[in-house]
């Protein structure tokens, strides 16, 4: 737990990855990288993820906000914020991602 803000540490979620084979850890930097990667996709839904106090904040364009512990918890809150499903098999989502990648 963070001694300043009392936030529990949830770093052991599977989305945090396997860590370094050597055992070295860099949780804050990794959390930032995960947020950057997530924002490539979340932008399609008008959402933005930021690392905050060992967790993340998820914001919509209208200013709605949710706090999530890990990437696995993003999608439940994302759907609440935007009011529609976030489906990685949705052909419209895939077409947008494919267009961005080219």
């Amino acid at each position: 737990m963070c001694g300043l803000c009392g936030v529990l540490n949830h770093a052991d979620h599977w989305t945090s990855g396997p860590g370094e084979a050597s055992g070295a850890t860099r949780p804050a930097a990794d959390r930032h990288l995960r947020a950057v990667a997530a924002n490539d996709v979340l932008a399609l839904f008008g959402l933005k993820l930021e690392s905050w106090a060992g967790r993340y904040t998820l914001r919509s364009r209208t200013g709605k906000m949710a706090v999530v512990d890990n990437l696995g918890a993003v999608w439940v809150e994302a759907e609440k914020l935007i009011g529609r499903p976030c489906d990685p098999l949705d052909p419209a989502v895939l077409a947008q991602l494919e267009a961005k990648g080219r």
Partner: protein
């Protein structure tokens, strides 16, 4: 032994009614190396018939009181497991270093596995080991054809034990093996007759053990070579095994994002997922595996088991479109890679 202090490995033995689960369990527990095993048997109905047959583990057997394990999982099984740990702590039963849960023949094991792995209190005490599914030759094909529970028991298995092989002819055994392969092409399949001694490794070797991790992964690669790119759906129902692949390294954050989104939207259809992932910045593969909505902590492997550096994800699912999933994997995880026409087809 430190059974109450270290995470105990919990294995699941499942299989349809009369398949030979208890017989397998008895033969496993007769082996000295597995003596420190506690057993929970899920009682279905008023009489714990199976319990009467498990004579060698009387002191460590706990019967669930209220019927099918999958219906009462959140309370009874959790309380039963915690009470076993408490009894061990008080010295009422010997300390144990592994736990075996034998389900009823009618149980769908997927929610049992998910609950065992997701409950915060149980996670502290337990680590999920192997799912061992027993299928008998005389009745196996009929059960797979007739009962969704039987198909789902096979779909989630790490090891499939074909039992009573001495009670049927070679053609029946071949037919059963083919049907098992169509449902779950990633499991280790072992044929056992009525007198055969099952390998201790069923309860000793797991993915979490670095020493046996590569051996545990080997059957997944068999699924890859056996099925290629084809979606091999089961004849009955749509449970089948297929493989997703990627030829270039994937950034872990992108993969985690894609997989978390996938299991959020389609987790109920993903009965098992087992993958070797080529992660950017890592020379060796990362192992990812899960059941429905649950993904286990990823693990490092010391090397590529077959020398082939390529992401391969075995999916055992129900009603999933392999081509669409392959397209999704590429779009999310491999930005800039051209999508092949056959991958884009739906």
């Amino acid at each position: 032994m430190s059974g109450v202090r270290e995470p105990v490995v919990a294995h699941l033995i499942t299989g349809f009614l009369g398949a030979g689960k208890t017989s397998l369990l008895n033969r496993l527990l007769a082996q000295p190396a597995l003596a420190d095993t506690a057993v929970i048997i899920n009682e279905f109905g008023a009489v714990g018939i199976d319990h009467l047959l498990v004579q060698s583990v009387d002191d460590d057997v706990v019967l669930l009181k209220s019927g099918c394990i999958c219906c009462t999982i959140r309370v009874d099984l959790k309380n039963t497991i915690l009470s076993l740990f408490e009894r061990a702590r008080r010295g009422e039963i010997p300390p144990f270093s592994r736990l075996v849960i034998e389900t009823t023949g009618l149980a769908d094991p997927a929610p049992i596995i998910a609950t065992l792995s997701a409950d915060l209190m149980l996670k502290y005490h337990l680590r999920l080991g192997n799912v061992i599914t027993v299928v008998d030759v005389p009745n196996g094909v009929a059960n797979l054809n007739g009962f969704a529970e039987s198909r789902r028991q096979v779909a989630v298995a790490d090891h499939i034990i074909i039992s009573k092989s001495d009670l049927a002819d070679a053609a029946a055994l071949t037919g059963l093996r083919q049907q098992l392969g169509r449902i779950n092409g990633a499991a280790n399949v072992v044929v056992l007759d009525e007198t055969g001694e099952p390998a201790q490794a069923l309860l000793l070797d797991t993915l979490n053990d670095p020493a046996s991790r590569e051996a545990a992964v080997a059957p997944w690669l068999g699924a890859n070579s056996g099925l290629g790119h084809e979606h091999e759906a089961s004849h009955h129902g749509t449970i089948g095994t297929f493989v997703l692949e990627a030829d270039q390294a994937i950034a872990w954050p992108r993969f985690a994002l894609w997989l978390s989104m996938l299991i959020h939207s389609h987790g109920r259809k993903i009965l098992r997922l087992k993958g070797l992932i080529d992660i950017e910045g890592a020379e060796t593969p990362v192992v990812v595996h899960g059941v429905q909505h649950l993904i286990h902590k990823p693990l490092h492997l010391p090397g590529w088991p077959d020398g082939v550096r390529r992401t391969r994800i075995v999916v055992i699912g129900e009603g999933l479109d392999r081509e669409l999933m392959q397209r999704s994997l590429a779009a999310f995880c491999l930005p800039g890679q051209e999508v092949q026409p056959e991958q884009a087809a739906q």
